[in-house]
Structures are given as structure tokens and as C-alpha cells.
């Protein structure tokens, strides 16, 4: 198989369309194999349930402030991300399907497809986390749901961007599970620094417009880490 | 602590010697690596 876009000088639009199609194909493949077993989804959902329950039981009947609630949500989001989002490439290496993917799809769409899957997983788990926190923990109230949603969305994007490229790195390192939190922590720390404060403010009722600057920064960082991942992925994915 | 706060020169001396000790420790490590290499030869 050739790599699609090579033979007869296709127009730019065609190339983009082909790359997009390949991206979606990779994402669809992952979603389908996921839906067959529901392994990652189930374990992620259970992890979220268990984390929030541990928090709820540890806090007890105490009523916590929005600052502490935001911090606890972020702790849970961090550990959910580092445990749940790394599966994408390791699965390929374990099943031995990595080289097939390498043969049929160029690195760019592979990365983008995996990123899409991780984005969906991260969004789902973080949304679930937020909802369960609000439901189960006294004091975790969201006074500005709109901005809360935007913060969760942008941080999920950042998590997905950081974890996709780091998962690819760790797959190369022979899938050492303990490396996930270690390697991803520096990449995620800016998200935490920006996100905890944003989440706290959204929980205490500050709207999107009032914290547009920091939201923009969070978005820019998420996009930057995704782009860097895209540029670097090429270098480690190839044999 | 009180003494160090009043005699600030000793704080500087601690800091300078800390850097010296740190670099010395690194030197010792390099030396150990080199000796291992020489033993194998």
C-alpha cells in the first residue's frame, strides 16, 4: 500500500480530505475495538466512581469550600488521566498491530486519530467526575455552570494532548506503567496551575467573560502541547 | 537560626560551601565511573 497522497499531485483540498478521512478511520477503529470489549471505558468509569467515593467518605459530612472542592476535583482528574488515557498506543504494541498501522496510515493522522479518542475519553471521564463531585460532595456547588463546563473542556483537551504523546513515548519504552505520572506531571502542571484557580472561580460564580484571559491561556497551552505532540510524534512513531 | 540571621556572613559561607561540596560530590562520582572503566581494562 502506498501512503495515499503520493502518486499524481493531488490538490491541497484532496490531501486534507484524505488526511481527515484517515484520522477518522483511526479514531473509528479504536472506538469500535473499544465498544467490543468496553475495557478502557469500564475501568475508567470504575476509577472515577471509586475516586469520588473515597473522597466522599474521607470528607464525611464536612462542608468544604469551593477552593478545596476545585483542588480535589483536579487531583482526581490528574490521576484519572494518568491511569486511563495511556492505553492507546500500548494496546497497539501489545496486540502487535502497531506495525500494521504504521504501514497503512501516515504518522500525522495516526496521532490525530489517537488524540481524538483520548479527547473523547478524557472529556467523558472528567464530565463524569465533575457531575459525581457535585452530586456526592457537600460544598462542591457550581454557581456558574457555563464557565465550569468551558474549564473542564479546555483542561480535558490539555490532558488528552499531553497524554497522547506521552503514551506514545512510553509505548516505545516498553510500556512501563509507573512512568505515566512521572513523565506527564511536568506537562500537566501548567494545566493544574491555571485550571485549579479557574475551576474555583467558576464554582464561586464567575462568568466566562470575567476570566477570559486565563481561559485563553489554558486553551493556548492545550493547543501548544497538542501541536508539539503532533510535530514530535513523527520522530518516535517511525521505525 | 537567630545567630545566622544576625551574622549574615555565615549564611553566605554555607551557601558557597554547599556549591563546593555539591560539585565535589559530582567529581567523586565521575572519578568512580572512571575507575570502574580502568579496572575493566
Amino acid at each position: 500500500m502506498g501512503n495515499g497522497a503520493g502518486q499524481s499531485k493531488p490538490v491541497a483540498g484532496q490531501i486534507v480530505a484524505s488526511l481527515l478521512r484517515q484520522t477518522l478511520a483511526v479514531a473509528r477503529k479504536d472506538f469500535q475495538s473499544e465498544l467490543r470489549t468496553r475495557h478502557a471505558l469500564n475501568s475508567l468509569a470504575m476509577f472515577v466512581v471509586i475516586t469520588v467515593s473515597v473522597m466522599a467518605f474521607s470528607i464525611g459530612t464536612e462542608r468544604i469550600t469551593s477552593g478545596i472542592a476545585a483542588a480535589l476535583i483536579w487531583v482526581s482528574m490528574f490521576f484519572t488521566a494518568v491511569t486511563g488515557l495511556g492505553r492507546s498506543f500500548i494496546g497497539e504494541e501489545e496486540r502487535g498491530t502497531g506495525f500494521l498501522l504504521r504501514l497503512t496510515v501516515p504518522p500525522g493522522p495516526t496521532y490525530a486519530g489517537k488524540l481524538l479518542v483520548n479527547l473523547a475519553l478524557s472529556l467523558a471521564s472528567n464530565a463524569m467526575l465533575g457531575l459525581m463531585f457535585i452530586a456526592m460532595i457537600r460544598g462542591a456547588e457550581v454557581k456558574a455552570p457555563g464557565s465550569f463546563l468551558v474549564v473542564v473542556l479546555l483542561s480535558s483537551a490539555g490532558f488528552a494532548g499531553a497524554m497522547t504523546i506521552i503514551a506514545a513515548l512510553i509505548a516505545r519504552a516498553g510500556s512501563k506503567g509507573a512512568l505515566y505520572p512521572v513523565l506527564s506531571f511536568p506537562a500537566i502542571l501548567p494545566l493544574i496551575v491555571l485550571g485549579v484557580d479557574l475551576l474555583r472561580r467558576s464554582m464561586s460564580g464567575i462568568g466566562i467573560a470575567a476570566m477570559a484571559d486565563d481561559l485563553l491561556l489554558l486553551g493556548v497551552y492545550s493547543i501548544a502541547i497538542m501541536l508539539a505532540g503532533y510535530l514530535l510524534f513523527d520522530l518516535i512513531w517511525r521505525e | 537560626m537567630e545567630f545566622l540571621a544576625d551574622n549574615s556572613m555565615y549564611v553566605t559561607l554555607i551557601i558557597a560551601s554547599l556549591i563546593l561540596v555539591g560539585l565535589l560530590l559530582y567529581l567523586v562520582r565521575i572519578d568512580a565511573r572512571l575507575r570502574k572503566l580502568e579496572r575493566e581494562r
Binding site: 512521572v182 511536568p186 520522530l235 | 544576625d6 549574615s8 549564611v11 554555607i14
Partner: protein, 403 residues
């Protein structure tokens, strides 16, 4: 002019790090002697040049504490009275009668017309200066007394070059990481990892020395000041980098994966060096970006000595420590608070540039040695592996000669 001095010394230090012999061949003898002498000069001048302030800064510094701790005042002896007091004139032309100074001056063999540095405390009850001890007679150079920093001001000759070299090491490691990806040469990987290892050493040293300094100027060992956060992140990245390296056995794979990780980490590092300091208030002076560091440190600004007057309230909101209360300065006051910094401290600029220069040479010397050592080790590993497998490859044959 001062920017030129410090910037020039910084650039020259890096140029001399690479220029004769690069990182993989031994440095020539003159180079090593230059490193040793400048380093010795830095230590001698940095610790040896006496501090001597004027009477006003002495009052200001003793404000926050008892009479017990005398401060060095640099003044010329104008007159000696029979009642054991003496009239001294400091550098700002303020003449003051100091009690108990006459016998101290006489014991030191000095007299009228000599310039002396005396340990002087200010008695706030009686509003008089009392001489405690003799420190120096006719010094060639003096350093200014900075209220709140005092002798701790000398830390800029040791702590700041370390922090600077952390960035130099990081930059070198990233450059060679990029090269090792592009050209796939073993040497580039060795240079990148050696620079990272040495950078980690300097990172630990800068963090520890900064923490000790922070204890005495900001009240806590650790304040999560933006720069402390940045160096913490760099330290974690180095840790992760070496954890990643030790997890991969295959050399080529290890070179590529770890290089990619280092380059990926440029994004958080840029965030913590350039964006984060603008978001939160820092304790370090000149809380601007690091890009202006070599130039602006003429005023000792980005050179990052903590300024006591800068943060009126420490982050945790507790009462400032005694040293901190001493300098109720304006918020934008530079670290050289005592008087006109332009006229006063050429010697300080010289020592500071010298320290940057000599620490850079030391850094590159150690880097050079460890790169050469790592190359030897790498070569030995290859021959060892070949010997075990029983079939020496083309590289191994080249090295293992029958002896």
C-alpha cells in the same frame, strides 16, 4: 556599560566553553588555568572584599532588631576625642560622632586620616552610634551595605551563576537532543544526556542555596515563588528524563525517545519561565522574563537576589521576619538600595561578571570531562556486548586490539 560587562562575560563564558576543543576533546592547558584562576578570583573577591555601608543604611538595617548586631560602616577618621569618641565621615559625606571608637581605632593601629570599616550599632534609645569592633583599615575596595541583605548580598556571586547554568545546560541538552534526532549520532545523545545530568546537579545546587537564602530573606525555605516553581519543574523534568532513559535498553531507541521527551518539555518550561511569572507576584526582584537576564543584571535585577522590601507580605500572610522589616522601600526599588547604584558599585559589577564567567568555565570543564567519560563507557559497552555474543562487530574490532 555595565550591561556590556556582564553580558560580555556571560557570552564569553559560553563561547570559551565550546570554542577550543569543543565538548569531546580535552581542553588546552591555558584554558584550564583560566578556569582555575578566575574561579579562585571569584571566591576570593566574592567572599573577601569587605562590606562597608554608610551611617544611614546602618540605621535602617538595625531598625528591625536589637542593638546587639553591629553593622559595617565605611568611613574616614576625621577627629579623635580624648573621651574615647571619634568623628567619622562616611562616603555620603555625613560626619557623625561615634562613641567608643577611639580605642578601637587606636588598637588597630589606625589614626586620623585613615579609612576604616568599623562594626557600629545604633542605639535607638539614646540615638547615638556606638562602635563595637574594628573590621578593616584602608580597604582597596568595598561592597555596599544593602539593608536587609547585608553579607547575604554576596550570594549573587554563587547562587545566581548556578541558576543561570541550569538554563545553559537545559539549552545545550535541547540543542543536542534535536541534533541526535536529526543526525542519529551517538555523540549527540551522549552530549545531551551529559548536559542534562550536569544541569540536574546545578539545579539541585541552585534550589538548595536558594532555599537557604529564602529562609533568611523571605522567612520560609520554600515559598512557591514563580522562579522556585520553575526550578522545581525543571528538576522534576530532569528526574523524569533519567527515569525514562533507564527504562529503555536499546541505545538508539533510548536516544530518540528521551530526546523527544526533552523537546516536548520545552513547552511547560517556556510556560514556567516566561508566562507564569507574569501571572503571579514573585519575591525575586525584577520579576520580568529571563530573556533580559544577561543584559539587565547590570543593575543586579534579573540576577535574582531577593529584595526584602519587595514583598510587603509573604505569600502565606504571616508576619515578615526581622530582617525583612528593615527595609520599608518603594515597591520598584532595585536591589541596590543603599544609594546611587551607578556611581557606587563598579566592583560589584566586576565580581558578578567574573562569577558568571568562571562558573561557566567550570561548568563546561565538568561537562567536557563527563562527555568524554560517557563516550568511553558507551564504547566499552559495545565491545563488552560484542565479547559476550562472541562475534566482535566492526566497531569492536576497531577498539579491542590484542594487547
Amino acid at each position: 556599560m555595565k550591561g556590556l560587562l556582564i553580558g560580555g562575560a556571560t557570552v564569553l563564558g559560553i563561547v570559551l566553553g565550546f570554542w577550543p576543543a569543543g565538548l569531546m576533546k580535552p581542553k588546552p592547558a591555558w584554558w584550564r588555568w583560566l578556569a582555575i584562576t578566575t574561579l579562585a578570583a571569584t571566591v576570593l573577591l566574592g567572599l573577601g572584599v569587605p562590606t562597608g555601608g554608610d551611617f544611614r543604611s546602618a540605621i535602617r538595617t538595625t531598625m528591625g532588631r536589637g542593638d546587639a548586631a553591629p553593622l559595617p560602616v565605611y568611613a574616614s577618621v576625621v577627629e579623635i576625642h580624648p573621651d574615647s569618641s571619634a568623628v567619622l565621615r562616611d562616603m555620603t559625606d555625613t560626619a557623625v560622632t561615634v562613641y567608643g571608637a577611639a580605642p578601637i581605632i587606636a588598637n588597630a593601629g589606625a589614626g586620623k586620616g585613615d579609612r576604616v570599616i568599623l562594626g557600629i550599632s545604633f542605639n535607638r534609645g539614646r540615638k547615638v552610634f556606638v562602635a563595637r569592633r574594628h573590621l578593616f583599615t584602608n580597604p582597596l575596595f568595598t561592597l555596599p551595605l544593602i539593608p536587609g541583605l547585608e553579607e547575604r548580598a554576596r550570594n549573587i556571586y554563587f547562587h545566581v551563576p548556578c541558576a543561570w547554568l541550569v538554563q545553559v545546560a537545559w539549552f545545550i541538552a535541547c540543542c543536542y537532543a534535536l541534533l541526535s534526532i536529526r543526525k542519529r549520532r551517538v555523540e549527540d545523545d551522549v552530549r545531551a544526556s551529559a548536559a542534562a545530568a550536569l544541569g540536574a546537579v546545578f539545579c539541585v545546587l541552585a534550589t538548595l542555596t536558594g532555599a537557604i537564602w529564602a529562609k533568611f530573606n523571605w522567612g520560609e525555605f520554600w515559598n512557591w515563588d514563580p522562579r522556585q516553581t520553575a526550578i522545581f519543574v525543571v528538576m522534576v523534568i530532569y528526574g523524569a528524563y533519567f527515569a525514562l532513559r533507564s527504562a529503555i535498553q536499546n541505545h538508539e531507541q533510548r536516544a530518540r525517545v528521551s530526546a523527544v521527551y526533552l523537546l516536548l518539555m520545552l513547552i511547560p518550561v517556556v510556560f514556567f519561565l516566561f508566562i507564569y511569572p507574569r501571572m503571579v507576584d514573585g519575591l525575586h526582584p525584577g520579576a520580568g522574563s529571563l530573556e533580559s537576564q544577561p543584559l539587565d543584571s547590570a543593575t543586579m535585577r534579573p540576577a535574582t537576589p531577593p529584595v526584602p522590601g519587595r514583598s510587603s507580605a509573604p505569600p502565606s500572610g504571616q508576619a515578615p521576619p526581622s530582617g525583612q522589616a528593615a527595609a520599608p522601600e518603594k515597591k520598584d526599588a532595585g536591589p541596590i538600595l543603599s544609594s546611587d547604584p551607578d556611581a557606587l558599585n563598579p566592583i560589584k559589577q566586576v565580581i558578578f561578571s567574573l562569577s558568571f564567567f568562571s562558573f561557566s568555565l567550570l561548568f563546561f570543564w565538568i561537562l567536557n570531562v563527563s562527555v568524554r567519560l560517557s563516550l568511553l563507557e558507551r564504547r566499552r559497552e559495545i565491545t563488552g556486548a560484542a565479547a559476550v555474543s562472541g562475534a566482535p562487530g566492526p566497531i569492536a574490532e576497531d577498539i579491542v586490539r590484542p594487547s
